[in-house]
Symmetry: C2
Subunit: 196 residues, 2 copies
Amino acid sequence: MSNMNKPPLVIIHPLVLISVVDHYNRIISKTQQPRVVGALLGERKADGVIDITNSYALPFEEDPKDQNIWYLDHIYNETLFELHRKININEKIVGWYSTGSRFKPNDIQINQIFYKYTTTPIFVIIDVHQFDPLSLPTEAYTSVDEISKSGEIVQNFVHIPSTVQAFEPEEIGVEQLLREINNVDTQSLSAKAEQK
Amino acid sequence: MSNMNKPPLVIIHPLVLISVVDHYNRIISKTQQPRVVGALLGERKADGVIDITNSYALPFEEDPKDQNIWYLDHIYNETLFELHRKININEKIVGWYSTGSRFKPNDIQINQIFYKYTTTPIFVIIDVHQFDPLSLPTEAYTSVDEISKSGEIVQNFVHIPSTVQAFEPEEIGVEQLLREINNVDTQSLSAKAEQK
């Protein structure tokens, strides 16, 4: 792809972040897997901005000793996307996510798979261990063709501006949820439940 | 089922509520459908408490003039559950949800479908328009057999105590997210994005 297709901004919606943290916590607690990977769904708007509104986990394995050995279940991806389309025809596959804090050597290879589903796959790295409120826990990238010193075409990731933002109904939902969670005193959980 | 199987408490996790609100907002804004319906996934713990940790939307249609005419795509449900099991083998189908504020006449019929997947299906009504922070926007039910005046066995819903609660990592995630969302000033969105 050329740099012309590079989106000016990627907007990541709250549901995506919560789903990814959830996916990570459930998988990592039960396996030796160092990271989790999944598909990102959303829409490219007329101004080129990409809204990432949904996601799902993908079966993914890699050899910790040799990252050239990895497996992503693309049949699973295609089946789940077909099902998802029946619920929401407007959301397309716009790219993929991985938990972590920096690139892995095989990320550019994994990214290749997503050219099958979208013209400009977005790769979002989500740092589930990053709790600094002044810094967003996500970084977005897309890949570009570059000419190496030896004259070969190689693919590299380039950074894209990204932000976490909710549509108004989502924002109300998240705010309300936080109040609810803070209201729940785990010590008196059953007592509260009785009151209902 | 007998009342013996009635769980003492249903715990609904944040991801479920955010997903359902999201499902509702996306479907309702684009169709004439009055409500949305989906599957609830989770685990029954040793003490009988049910943790509802995940959910997905289901294709559902009903005739607004005759609620005996409705369609829920159970093949879709079974296919999506099989895919979900590949990611998380511990989460089972524990019941279903509907948006709304009260029962519909066909709910007890829809509930029957879920006996195929679990011994005690839980039905959760989620009031997406309820924004009173002192009252949880969810009510949980299960069905019991009762003897009618004419001596017939009829199924009715009975209320189960429920609460919204997060595991610690989820809570940190939701709190962080709220800070992020509050930090985003939509007026200066592109300026903020440039700074990254």
